[in-house]
């Protein structure tokens, strides 16, 4: 079995890192971009499991056992379709939020603040 390409491994790491960094941003647009990057990262991670670098995806002249494992490819295709659909939905949703508030920032948890404020008078009393 061939070893996975190091470049691909590093790329997966970078995609996860930047993806999670974007997720904790306040702007919804960045959150959506973060989700996109994470989706790519997980698809590439699946790609890493197909048997190693430089294996052809089709049988051709390579001979038995010398092709990439097709199962992860099939799973990636399914996952790409799902990520694509959901990202479209997320974009629409972010747009709706922007239409409603004219900004796309994630607000503080208002309910949480309210509960906190409820507790304060009892503490001081």
């Amino acid at each position: 079995m061939n070893t996975p390409a190091l470049v691909l491994v590093i790329t997966v790491g970078v995609l996860y890192g930047t993806g999670f960094y974007l997720l904790v941003q306040r702007s919804l647009m960045r959150v959506v971009l973060g989700i996109l990057l994470l989706g790519h990262g997980s698809n590439l991670a699946l790609l890493l499991t197909d048997g190693g670098a430089a294996l052809p995806p089709l049988l051709g002249d390579a001979g038995e056992g010398r092709i990439a494992d097709p199962l992860p490819h099939a799973m990636i295709l399914t996952a790409i379709v799902i990520t694509f659909g959901v990202t479209t939905f997320l974009l629409a949703l972010a747009y709706r939020v922007w239409l409603g508030d004219e900004n796309d920032e994630v607000p503080d948890d208002i309910e949480d603040r309210r509960i906190g404020a409820l507790a304060e008078p009892e503490d001081s009393a």
């Binding site: 997980s42 997320l90 508030d101």
Partner: protein
């Protein structure tokens, strides 16, 4: 007979297509929707009848042999959960139809019916999926439908809440996909029966890491503390019928996935202690959160988080190092009974909250008062499932909690005892949380606004709708009582299912030989 295994998701998908095509004729659409869910429920009943004795039915969609093809499996646990969820889905559909006919809904029926059936299909697929990737697809189908449902009747708050819900669900889905990649890299298969065999050759530490990874993935979806923050922010905001279904089913599908992966794949490893700690923290943090809320829906949501802890606790009793296997079986049986009880009770309580919203306009404990004198039926329908949630005898919650506590005491060990103590404390605190709703919301004299709303509802066009909704809520309450009455047979099925989950023998044989395996 094997076709029974595929129908839990084929039927509703077909129904979704049909209801989408006939959305111009609302009456026909409602009838088609009801018919589909009735068929799904009947099919689930047949499936349970076939598997109740421990038989495992497997089927390979597409005809590829076991480790490669798309495997569908039904064992007693899957069949039982498919049945309970379809019954609950059917009753909530009836409630929704009453609401629509009575003109009391703000949702869009054109979207609601097809998407609701897609959600049914996703839940069905998750329960019968025999490989990890199909489980992922089942989750995605369910979640995609739920994204569409939670944004029904969008307002500013609802859109914001949906955004939280969607993003958190997506993160856990992406982690799920990563987990599949890791498992595939470690074992070369995604078929759960095959993974169970091959994991034996994987180093123990790697197995534990994979097990923990999946615990986090499904823990987010099941709202296990500390991964629960999204739930109380998103569920209460959706329109009632949707919150009822989300609260009843979506978290339970994740609990099912935790049970399946932690018993079949990562059993008897060092994860049990982690499970017990998670369980204790979930129970206590959830219910303490519920105590300070002043909105019925939010109290119920925090209580939901807290009661997920009971199920994790029972699962944690399995495979305690040096523990008794019998206690493990008893614990898992308790979890299965608890799942059934909680699906029904949680759905009922959210339906009641929906009725409160019809009378008062919102569910804040500040504005509801004296509901018992406005609608005695509503008070009764809140009281019964609420007592069941708190675990008072002779309700179903008592049966389930007793089973769990007995298993915990039998298993012994500091964490098991701590779990039982936390469980008892949570029961008491649940009772307090519920009495807060009862005293503030149902006792006292109703305000002018509530009386006016009530007379408007009992004379106007909404009269039929409100009666229908109350009647279907009553039906759900009756289902909850039926769960308590059927506790004996339910425990028997639960024991059969638990034994089989722990040994995993019948499941693996059925999948790998593509046949029906009797116990």
């Amino acid at each position: 007979m094997t076709v029974l295994v595929a129908l839990p998701f084929l039927l509703p998908l077909l129904g979704a297509a049909v209801t989408l095509l006939i959305s111009r004729w609302p009456r026909v659409q409602r009838a088609a929707s009801l018919l589909t869910l009735a068929a799904v429920t009947a099919n689930a009943g047949l499936l349970l009848a076939e598997t109740a004795d421990g038989t495992v039915i497997s089927s390979q969609a597409g005809g590829w042999p076991a480790p490669l093809g798309i495997t569908l499996v039904a064992d007693p646990l899957s069949a039982l959960l498919v049945l309970v969820s379809s019954v609950v889905l059917l009753i909530v559909l009836l409630y929704a139809i009453g609401q629509d006919v009575g003109g009391l809904s703000r949702g869009n029926p054109d979207v609601f019916h097809p998407v609701y059936l897609v959600l049914t299909a996703g839940v069905g697929l998750s329960f019968v999926a025999g490989d990890l990737f199909n489980l992922f697809v089942g989750f995605e189908v369910t979640l995609t439908a739920s994204y569409a449902l939670i944004t029904q009747a969008p307002t500013r708050e609802r859109t914001r809440a949906s955004m939280i819900y969607t993003v958190v669900s997506l993160i856990s889905s992406i982690l799920f996909l990563t987990g599949i990649a890791l498992v595939y890299a470690a074992t070369g298969t995604v078929n759960m029966a095959d993974i169970a065999d091959r994991l034996a050759t994987v180093p123990g530490d790697l197995r534990n890491v994979l097990g923990l990874f999946f615990l986090v993935v499904f823990g987010i979806k099941a709202a296990v503390v500390p991964m629960h923050f999204w739930l109380p922010d998103s569920y209460p905001i959706a329109i009632t019928r949707i919150s009822a279904i989300f609260a009843a089913l979506l978290t339970k599908v994740a609990v099912y996935a935790i049970i399946r992966t932690q018993t079949l794949l990562f059993s008897r490893d060092d994860i049990t202690d982690v499970l017990l700690v998670f369980a204790i923290v979930t129970m206590l943090v959830g219910i303490l959160g519920a105590l300070v809320q002043d909105d019925v829906n939010r109290v119920l949501s925090f209580a939901l988080v807290s009661h997920i802890g009971y199920m994790i606790f029972g699962l944690g009793l399995v495979g305690v190092p040096g523990g008794h296997d019998d206690a493990g079986v008893a614990g898992l049986t308790g979890v299965i009974v608890y799942l059934v009880h909680h699906i029904v009770v949680q759905a009922t309580l959210f339906l009641v909250a929906g009725l409160i919203r019809q009378y008062v306009g919102n569910t804040s404990l500040r504005s509801i008062r004296g509901l018992a004198s406005v609608s005695p039926a509503l008070a009764l329908f809140f009281f019964l499932p609420a007592m069941s949630l708190a675990g008072l005898p002779p309700m179903s919650g008592f049966v389930a909690k007793l089973a769990l506590f007995q298993a915990g005491l039998e298993q012994g060990g500091p964490l098991a005892y701590a779990g039982v103590a936390a469980g008892v404390a949570t029961s008491v605190l649940t009772l307090i949380a519920i009495f807060r709703i009862w005293v503030r919301g149902f006792w006292g004299t109703p305000s002018q606004a509530i009386v006016a709303a009530q007379s408007a509802l009992s004379s106007g066009t909404g009269r039929f709708g409100i009666r229908w909704m109350t009647a279907t809520t009553g039906l759900m309450v009756a289902t909850g009582i039926a769960v308590a009455l059927l506790a004996g047979p339910l425990t028997e099925i639960g024991t059969v299912a638990a034994r089989e989950l722990i040994s995993g023998e019948a499941y693996r044989t059925a999948v790998m030989s593509d046949s029906v395996v009797a116990p």
